[in-house]
């Protein structure tokens, strides 16, 4: 992709996704929601998340060539 292509793609992207214009603000006061969130008990990590994490680590250990692929999609 040369510089002209890059310029064209930027223009097309801006045409397709117009920027969020003007001053934006939340529709209501978010402070009560923040307070509720602060008071909430921290959620425990489910066991299957740990299992999934361990599987990924094991997979990466056995197949190190897959690490860049994982990193790309992160």
């Amino acid at each position: 992709m040369n510089a002209n292509d890059e310029l064209r793609m930027k223009k097309l992207l801006k045409q397709s996704l117009p920027p969020v214009e003007g001053e934006s603000e939340p529709g209501h006061d978010l402070w009560p929601a923040v307070l509720r969130r602060l008071d909430a008990r921290p959620t425990a990590i489910p066991w299957f998340d740990w299992a999934l994490g361990a599987s990924l680590v094991a997979f990466a250990a056995f197949f190190p060539a897959s690490i860049p692929v994982f990193l790309y999609y992160l």
Binding site: M9, L12, S24, E25, L30, W31, R37
Partner: protein, 177 residues
């Protein structure tokens, strides 16, 4: 975003909830606006603003007043937005309520714009995030780099890779941008 006084920042660092509320009132609008630019969904932006301030409060002891609250909050907001993008599946239809282009190029049809927007949603989140901030929202590369915790060159590289992938996707659909 305006930085609070050093007393306020020090009180926040010590876990003072009143100082935290003052900082929230000062910065919530800017944080919400930044997140909205990334996720482009007002309801999600509100939830993520709450999430961001929760993360900010949780990390208050690690805050370094010399760094400034604004840059720190933006960094945390960007990470929260990126986490959200990672949980989203690419849409088959575009969400309603997004702004229409101010100056539409007559050579670009609505169909091409729609396909471009959908193809953009299929990009890896970290490329999408860099491109939406640097290209669509025209934020300075330096600010994007600080928010993402990467170098300016890395931002430029991500933008380039996003545009290249987008072009390839469109070409596969028979569109020659």
């Amino acid at each position: 975003m305006r930085n609070g006084s050093s007393d306020l920042l020090n009180e926040f660092r010590q876990g003072n909830v009143a100082a935290f509320e003052t900082l929230f009132r000062l910065h919530q609008r800017a944080v919400y606006g930044w997140i909205l630019r990334i996720v482009r969904n007002p309801a999600a932006a509100e939830d993520l603003t709450v999430e961001t301030f929760w993360r900010i409060h949780r990390a208050h002891a690690r805050f370094q007043p010399s760094r400034g609250f604004e840059a720190w909050a933006r960094c945390i907001a960007t990470r929260a937005a990126l986490d959200w993008l990672r949980t989203q599946r690419p849409e088959t239809e575009l969400p309603a309520g997004l702004p229409a282009p101010a100056t539409a190029d007559p050579a670009v049809t609505d169909e091409i714009r729609r396909k471009t927007a959908l193809a953009f949603q299929r990009l890896p989140p970290r490329l999408r995030l860099a491109a939406v901030l640097a290209v669509v929202e025209e934020q300075p590369h330096k600010e994007v780099a600080e928010a993402l915790g990467i170098s300016v060159s890395a931002v430029k590289l991500r933008v380039f890779r996003a545009l290249r992938s987008l072009r390839k996707d469109l070409q596969q659909q028979g569109i020659a941008p």
